[in-house]
Symmetry: none
Subunit: 204 residues, 4 copies
């Protein structure tokens, strides 16, 4: 399994880079630190990636695979199509925990996108757009059934995603504060959104 082994070095570097970039930011991280974390020589990094920026793109490519159609979004879409569903909420909760673990990576990618056009384009086309489309479609179906208000579907999707995002970020920041039960909090966030987008009888 030579190929597997070859790519295993690459994987080690990617994993180390995710860790170090997440902790220090892209510019704040050093290749020597990444090498050490990966347990390889610094020169080895540059046999696998042309430049330091190349590592970032490598991370992105590997991230695209796992974020392109994240399970949480599929669950959310299902929840939207079927109306609120408590079994669904617990699934969403579970998957939100996964997202939280990757929060530093996500923040890194979204932030660095400002400075690296290639990164921005890939994130937009391969991550943000597919997710948004997925949710927009589900939202559109409910709109057609007159169950959701006839607002802009994208906007409704964004409202949902950013509410969840805001909740996750807040949990991180205010970690030591007295907060309500996590599952309860998630339910409240989803309830607010669901009720917010529900159509009145005489709407539209």
């Amino acid at each position: 399994m030579e190929i597997a082994e070859a790519s295993s070095t690459q994987k080690k570097i990617i994993d180390a880079a995710i860790k170090v970039f997440s902790e220090k930011g892209f510019e704040g991280a050093t290749t020597s630190e990444i090498a050490q974390e990966a347990g390889v020589a610094e020169g080895t990094i540059f046999r696998h990636f042309d430049t330091k920026k190349g590592i970032l793109q490598g991370i992105l490519i590997s991230a695209v695979t796992s974020f392109q159609r994240p399970q949480i979004m599929v669950s959310l879409a299902r929840m939207i199509e079927k109306g609120e569903d408590h079994s669904c909420v617990s699934m969403v909760k579970e998957q939100l925990d996964v997202i939280e673990q990757q929060l530093p990576l996500l923040k890194l990618l979204f932030y660095e996108a400002q400075f690296h056009t290639e990164v921005q384009e890939i994130i937009l086309e391969k991550i943000a757009r597919p997710i948004l489309d997925l949710l927009s479609q589900s939202i559109g179906k409910r709109k057609n059934m007159r169950e959701f208000r006839c607002f802009d579907s994208n906007l409704m999707a964004i409202t949902l995603i950013s509410s969840l995002w805001g909740y996750v970020i807040w949990k991180q920041i205010a970690s030591e504060e007295e907060t309500i039960d996590e599952e309860e909090a998630l339910i409240q966030v989803l309830h607010i959104w669901l009720k917010g987008v529900q159509a009145n009888l005489h709407d539209c």
Copy 2:
């Protein structure tokens, strides 16, 4: 007026640093670039700030003044207390534009907060917390009047703020796309939230 002059130099540096940090990020920016942008010698920077990080804190301090109780939040609080108010919406819209102009700075501060504890603390205590308290209080009043659902006030506030934040970020990213009228979009976002938090008669 030497003091005035000194502080004017300081202001020039702060302004230049905001520009350069916003464009390149904190680590990506160089003090020499900031000096050039400010029209001062590189050494001069270090008469006003001990270290590069000191400039970031300087920015933060000057930002705290303008963000501590930003007009937009006051308007939002008023809107919450009085119920939806169209005159209020147009004010919110106006102030959201101001926010948008400072978006790079805000993103910078929020992002760098991860890596610099002092920055994080100041943002939390001087910006995030006051804003959240302001909104939470207004929300609390409506809750007491049984007009808002008896959800966690902080959570409701976060849902509102992050919906608006998400909307602003999306506008930036998807700038060239066909989007609905900005004012209409803002109204939709606020409507979703307002309806989402409104109490049913038999709630709680």
Copy 3:
């Protein structure tokens, strides 16, 4: 004398670089070695020259000044115009010693010219061409007086220069061998050339 001092750092670097490049070649030399030789910090080099190659160009520029119309060539031109002149020979000898001291630098510049177009162009236009023109003109005058053969003037000049160059190089390489007296050798080289280019009565 601040200006003098500022440029003195630059001069120190140039002088050190001439020494190190001459000893190790351009690629074989390191900037750290140059810095050490110059007695400055390595970083200082890059305040004065953008890149390592920039140092080479800096050397060239300073060399152009001293080689553009080297005294030896003026003496040679005079010798050519007046016919052989023993006082002239001793002057040429003297100046040839100067050239010899700068031999490593000259070899460096001529050799590196192969790899750096900018260097090549400057050497050609600012050093080689003026020298060749100077000699060609003097040769031309004698040709017009029917005292020199009607060969190509440039070619005659090249024959002279390269004979001298060959002699100097040989002296270096075969330094420890028994060689004839230097002044005598020089006279012989010049005699060969002078007799070689002299016109017969019935020439042309």
Copy 4:
């Protein structure tokens, strides 16, 4: 025929190294580039040569074979012994073209000789000295016949070689200029030298 194959690999490496060294200089060339040019793995180079410098010596050894008694020098020696001979001139011309094709290699070897004693010694003993001896002997014979001036034989030989060398280099550098016919130029160079060394009746 493993030995034959091995040596063929070695030859491929030598040929590639000549090309790459000629184009980039010794220090400027990389072993990876040589490997690629040779169509072998980088590691393979080090099965045939201990170090990078070893390749240079390998080149030198293979060059010694072809330069030790180059045909052009034999032709020149014959020309000297017999006096000017037009059939000889055209042969010299032909062989000078061969030299020109190997000019980069020759320049490389002569230049690098400065930095590598072993290279210098081999060039001196195996190339320069034999050539010089060959010409000196022929010159000596004419001197004995009172047909050449009683100058130092080595010096006369050097004058001849460097005139030709200077001519070849000049052709390269000033390639795009209007120059006289190559054969005519060569004849002029040789005429200048021949007439320059010819004895007057009452010489010595």
